[in-house]
Structure formats: structure tokens, C-alpha cells
């Protein structure tokens, strides 16, 4: 929901009160009516109050003019989360046929100062839509992501641009670069899935390639949930069983004494699927799965002890008609 930022210090050095601005003399400001006994009052500064008194007056008159445009800038600066101000600004931009390239430059600056604000990203998106020009968008989002590689707003905007303007070509290279910088960047893994799903799709051939890609990263950091989630996600519409390399890969790591909870969970999933498909050696498979659940519960993922015990119990009740499980 809404972010609770403390306001930035006012950036304007010399603010001129409206009574000293001749161009506003004809307009009567409209005060806010908060009733006789206001609650959750905002401690408005005098400047804030005055700017918004004039903003109300402009809205009431539905005035779309140069001075109204500059007023929206002042109002947005005081509260960039005010969606009504941005909406009205867009109406004026259209009405006055303003240079949208300039607007894009302006909103870039505002976003850089408020990178986690919904309203400013939305404003940018509408401007890009109107311009039908995405020349700067990938570069711009990249710049924002450099500051915070997991900024959800920036990724959303980037995905929208890529989808809207078919910018699929270079994106896997970008993702690759990000993952080399930080293999725990879950947003980058997600982007990888987004690109492949919408271009080549996860064909058998691509799946094999992506399994190898994620497994290489898992070898580097076996405890990285992001890479495991991606590897499992690649296979979500298939059977793990159709890719015997997965269980082999797990066995290989396990034999090297790696006990990452994600590794062990993946092995449990492989065994569970074998049970589901009614493969032979049912009792042995169930026993292996149960054993691994116990390892997680007792040693390698004790925080989720209750969960792994629950998984062991449900496997036993589902597939162990004559196996009573482990107490």
C-alpha cells in the first residue's frame, strides 16, 4: 500500500508567496474544508497550504493554462504521491499540446528522487504511451535498477515497455549481466522467466538449456533460493521424471556433502512425483522421501521443522497404505 516516507526537505530556495505573484491576482484561492474538528490532520507548511489552495481554485475553474501547468509542478513537488495533481497535469499537457519529450526529462528527475512512488511511474508510463517512443526506457530503468536492483516499480515499467514495444531482443543479455553481478537477484531471475516464456517458450530444448543455466548458478551457491525456484519453475508444466538429469544433479550435490534445504526439498519433490506416477519400488521411494524430510526437520531446516514433519506425514498418509511412517 502507500509508502510512509518522511518528506524530503523542501528543495526550493526562494519560494515566492502567491500574494507577491501578480499573475495569480485574479484567482481566489479555495481553502480546504476539513470540518470543525479535523482528524489525522497533516501538519501542512504554509507553502503547502497556499499551493493547494490555488490548486483547488484551478481545478474548480478547470483552467488549463501555462500558469496552471507550473502550479501542478509546485504541487507535485510538495507531494509527488498526489495522483490528482499528476492527472490534472496530464490533461493540461494534452490541452496545450506540450512537448512530451520535455515532460519525459522532467519526470525522469522526479522518479530518480522518488524511485518507489507509484504515481510518478504511472505518469511516465502514460507519457511514453503518448509518445509511442521507448528509446530511453530501457536505459532509464537500468539506471534506477543500478541503485536498487530489486525495485519493483522499475521492473514493472520495464516489463510493460518490453511487452508493449516488443523489446525482447537484448533483454536476456541484460539479465545475464545482472545475475553475474548478483546471483541472488530474484527480480532478474523472474525477468529471465518472463522473457523466455514470451519468446521461445519453454520447449524441451530450452528447458535443457535453462536447467543447465540454473544448475551452474546453483553449484556456485547451493543455498540460493532464487536459482532453485527458477530451476523448479522451468519444469512446472513438465514432469521432473522426464528430465532424469534433475535427480542426478541433486544426487551429485548431495554426495558432495551439500545439505542445502533447497537441494533436499527438490529431492523430496522428485520422490513424491515418482510416488504420484506409481513408479516401482514404492516403499523404498517413500522411505527415502521421509528420511529427507526428517533430515530437514532435525538438522538442515529446523526453522521449518513443523512443515517438514507435516510433509512427511502427508506423504505417508497418501502413499504409505501399509507403511505406518515414522511415528
Amino acid at each position: 500500500m502507500s509508502e510512509c516516507n518522511v518528506d524530503d526537505a523542501a528543495s526550493n530556495e526562494a519560494w515566492v508567496p502567491f500574494k507577491d505573484r501578480p499573475e495569480w491576482r485574479d484567482l481566489k484561492p479555495i481553502p480546504q474544508d476539513d470540518g470543525p474538528d479535523p482528524v489525522v490532520q497533516i501538519a501542512y507548511s504554509e507553502q503547502f497550504r497556499e499551493v493547494y489552495d490555488y490548486f483547488r481554485a484551478i481545478i474548480a475553474a478547470d483552467e488549463k493554462s501555462e500558469r496552471a501547468l507550473s502550479l501542478t509542478k509546485e504541487a507535485a513537488e510538495l507531494n509527488p504521491a498526489n495522483y490528482s495533481v499528476w492527472n490534472y497535469r496530464r490533461n493540461i499537457l494534452q490541452e496545450l499540446n506540450k512537448d512530451l519529450k520535455e515532460e519525459l526529462k522532467y519526470i525522469s528527475q522526479v522518479i530518480e528522487d522518488n524511485p518507489k512512488n507509484y504515481q510518478v511511474w504511472h505518469h511516465r508510463r502514460v507519457i511514453v504511451e503518448w509518445l509511442e517512443d521507448v528509446t530511453d526506457e530501457l536505459k532509464f530503468t537500468e539506471k534506477i535498477l543500478k541503485e536498487d536492483a530489486k525495485n519493483y516499480h522499475a521492473w514493472q515499467h520495464r516489463q510493460w515497455c518490453i511487452q508493449q514495444f516488443s523489446l525482447w531482443d537484448q533483454e536476456l543479455d541484460y539479465v545475464d549481466r545482472l545475475l553475474k553481478e548478483d546471483l541472488r537477484n530474484n527480480s532478474a531471475w523472474n525477468q529471465r522467466h518472463f522473457i523466455i516464456k514470451n519468446t521461445t517458450g519453454y520447449t524441451d530444448e530450452i528447458i535443457k538449456k535453462e536447467l543447465k543455466y540454473s544448475q551452474d548458478f546453483i553449484r556456485k551457491a547451493p543455498n540460493n533460493e532464487s536459482a532453485w525456484n527458477y530451476m523448479k519453475g522451468v519444469l512446472q508444466e513438465r514432469k521432473l521424471f522426464d528430465f532424469p538429469g534433475v535427480l542426478e544433479f541433486c544426487h551429485e550435490l548431495y554426495s558432495k556433502q551439500i545439505r542445502s534445504p533447497f537441494l533436499i526439498a527438490c529431492m523430496i519433490d522428485c520422490y513424491e512425483e515418482m510416488l504420484e506416477l506409481g513408479k516401482p519400488k514404492k516403499e523404498e521411494t517413500l522411505q527415502k522421501a521421509t528420511q529427507l524430510c526428517n533430515e530437514l526437520a532435525e538438522e538442515h531446516d529446523t526453522l521449518r521443522r513443523e512443515y517438514w514433519q507435516y510433509i512427511a506425514r502427508s506423504l505417508a498418509s497418501k502413499y504409505g497404505a501399509d507403511v505406518s511412517g515414522d511415528s
Binding site: 497533516i42 523472474n190 522467466h193 525456484n229
Partner: protein
């Protein structure tokens, strides 16, 4: 306990840093819930807010304070303000114009910023351009009224529902205001809450809504804000709560999807909960993720002790209130969600909550009574 739980992290280079963080936060944890301090903090929020950036969302901040006091079982503390609060919230309702002209704008605004009059009778018939409701403010206004014990008799129910309906997009998602905004799972959730509360699902195309939600299920097994967006604790709460309110949880998701979802959610626990893999724990996810686990019936499988001590470590012993991380500045959102997170795991002295609507069980029972009366009338 904390160190033992994290032995598996030794494989990765970043883990030691993380363990330090955990040790730091648990060693700093305050064992007791500072109930009195939080009451003071939330009562102060109801009087004055520190940030001008909260202006357009004032009613949602009031909701954090009102509902927080309810969860603290301290409604009597604001008994004298009750009528005034109810009156103020109703003053934020967009009055339907007799001409029907502004029907799609109806609902509640977050504040009086655009210049409408406090007196609803005088405000009626005075149309202000762009004066639309905001879906999140409609939701938080309605729940706040319920918590305050109001019977919603002054809510223009049909108009509010018409307002909600006008915000649904062709892909099933919702925007927050008629004039246009981003559209995502947050507003889907708000729409579901409003339709549920007013007991009128004509406010949306239900099938489209359900389709949007299921399309936003990511390869990770949890929900993003939109199709293909990264799975996130907040959007996952919104998606699951919406399905619960729609009574579609078990038909919209397969058993396999539900199991994967449960695992993703439980894996969010580090000490407190995280919103995404490889991000640090944050107080609010003890609610977003905790409540989702509760709705799925598996919150009992999480580690209550660690969760509790993390949330308590984010209390401010000076001002009261909670922040997202230990030793940060507290804010209304994290204060409220921290309390809810604790209520979910049975913290003594806190009222139980009804997670899907994010209000107390007491307020939920009040709503159920109202709905029974409305149905009898029809």
C-alpha cells in the same frame, strides 16, 4: 535457537552477514509488547500526521490507527472521538448527483484535498471536476466505519458498487481512480473487499477477476502484482484474500498449486518474514505472509517464537509504534501490520483478527450481523 536454525547458510558467502543481522536483531529484541506505548503512538496518529505525502491517503492512515487500537483492545481510548471520526469518514463519500452524472466516481476519497465541502448536504449537487473516489480509500473507509461500530446506513451502497464497477479493466484488474492509475492486485483486493462488505458482487465481472488472479501466479508458486511480475508477499496476500472473499480459493487453484504456494510462503520466514527471496525480513510481512498462511490453514507450521521476537524487536521503546526493521523510525503502516502479525500468532492481550478483510474478528462479527439484517429486509 536462532544460530542453530541458520547453520545451512554456511555454504554462501553472504550468509555470515545475514547471521550477524539475525543475531543483532534477536539480541536487541524487547521481550514484551509495549502495549501502552503503541496506544499512545496510534492515538497521536489520529491527531496529526508527520508527512505531507500522506495527504491523499489520509483515511487509510486513520484506518491503521483505528484498527490498530481495536487490535490492541483499546477502542475505549477513542470513545470520545468516535462520532467525530464517523462523521469525518462520511464527509469523504462522493455524493451521488441526482443527474447520475458522477455515478462512476462514487465511493470514498482519501481526504478533502480537491475542495469538496465537509457538510455532505451542502456538498451534494456541487460537482467538482475530477472529484473521484479512490478504491483503496473506499475499502479503508468502510472497514474503519465497521470498526467504529457504524451500521453503514449512510453509505450510498448502489453508487459505491457502480463506482467499483467502473474501475475494472478488460484484463480483470482494477485501477484505483476513474481518471486512471496503475492497475494491479492491490486494487483487485480492494474491489473484492468492498463487494464482500456491501454483499453485492455486481461491482465486478467475477470470472475476469479470478482469471486475472490466477494469471498472476508466478513460476515461483506465489502471486505477483500482475501476470509475469515477480512473486511478492504483499500481492500474494491480496490474491489469496481476494479468492477467499470470492469463495474461490479451492476451485481457482489446484491442490498442487496450493502446496507450492504454502511452501513459498513458509520459506519467507527467516526470523520474521521476507516479501521475496533474498530480501531481508520486514515487520509488515509477519502480516502479509502470516495472514496468507492463516487463510491457507498452515500458519501453525511456522516458527512462532522467532517471528514474535523479530516483530517485537522492531518496536520503538521511545515513541511506541513499529518500524520495518529493528531500530528504524516507526510509521503507522508498520505499526498496524506489526500488531496484526502478532495477533495472528496469539499474542496475549491482542484481539483476534479476520485476515481476509484485515480487521478484528469483533468488527467482522458486527459486519455479519449487519449483512443478516440487510438480507432479511430484502
Amino acid at each position: 535457537m536462532a544460530t542453530k536454525n541458520h547453520t545451512h547458510r554456511d555454504y554462501d558467502s553472504k550468509s555470515s552477514k545475514y547471521d550477524d543481522y539475525i543475531n543483532f536483531s534477536t539480541s536487541m529484541s524487547r521481550d514484551e509488547l509495549l502495549k501502552k506505548k503503541h496506544i499512545t503512538f496510534l492515538k497521536r496518529v489520529l491527531q496529526v500526521l508527520p508527512s505531507q505525502q500522506l495527504d491523499t491517503h489520509r483515511v487509510s492512515v486513520a484506518y491503521f490507527a483505528i484498527s490498530g487500537l481495536d487490535v490492541l483492545d483499546a477502542m475505549k481510548e477513542i470513545d470520545d472521538q468516535r462520532n467525530n471520526l464517523i462523521h469525518w469518514i462520511y464527509s469523504l463519500q462522493v455524493q451521488p448527483d441526482p443527474s447520475g452524472k458522477n455515478l462512476s466516481q462514487c465511493g470514498f476519497r482519501g481526504c478533502s484535498m480537491l475542495g469538496h465541502l465537509y457538510d455532505s448536504h451542502k456538498a451534494k449537487g456541487q460537482l467538482i471536476p475530477y472529484d473521484s473516489s479512490n478504491i483503496a480509500m473506499t475499502y479503508t473507509s468502510l472497514v474503519s466505519l465497521l470498526i467504529l461500530g457504524d451500521d453503514l446506513s449512510q453509505v450510498h451502497k448502489k453508487s459505491v458498487i457502480a463506482g467499483i464497477r467502473s474501475l475494472q479493466q478488460s484484463d480483470g484488474s482494477f485501477v484505483s481512480v476513474l481518471e486512471g492509475s496503475e492497475s494491479d492486485m492491490r486494487f483487485v483486493y480492494c474491489a473484492c473487499c468492498v463487494c464482500y462488505i456491501l454483499d453485492d458482487w455486481t461491482g465486478m465481472d467475477v470470472e475476469k477477476t479470478v482469471a486475472y488472479i490466477t494469471q498472476s501466479l508466478s513460476y515461483e508458486g506465489a502471486f505477483g502484482q500482475k501476470p509475469f511480475n515477480e512473486a511478492h508477499g504483499g500481492s500474494t496476500f491480496c490474491a489469496v484474500a481476494s479468492l477467499v472473499l470470492l469463495d474461490r480459493l479451492n476451485s481457482a487453484l489446484t491442490e498442487n498449486q496450493l502446496s507450492r504456494l504454502k511452501r513459498w510462503l513458509l520459506r519467507r520466514q527467516e526470523s520474521g518474514f521476507t516479501g521475496r527471496p533474498n530480501k531481508p525480513a520486514d515487520t509488515c510481512y509477519s502480516f502479509w505472509v502470516g495472514a496468507t498462511l492463516q487463510m491457507l490453514g498452515v500458519l501453525v507450521l511456522s516458527d512462532v517464537t522467532l517471528n514474535r521476537s523479530f516483530v517485537l524487536s522492531t518496536q520503538s521503546p521511545v515513541t511506541g509504534g513499529f518500524s520495518k526493521y529493528p531500530d528504524h523510525v516507526p510509521d503507522p503502516l508498520h505499526s498496524y501490520l506489526g500488531l496484526c502479525g502478532l495477533s495472528l500468532i496469539g499474542e496475549p492481550g491482542l484481539s483476534p483478527i479476520f485476515p481476509a478483510l484485515n480487521l478484528s474478528q469483533r468488527a467482522y462479527d458486527h459486519l455479519s450481523n449487519l449483512q443478516r439484517q440487510w438480507r432479511e429486509k430484502h
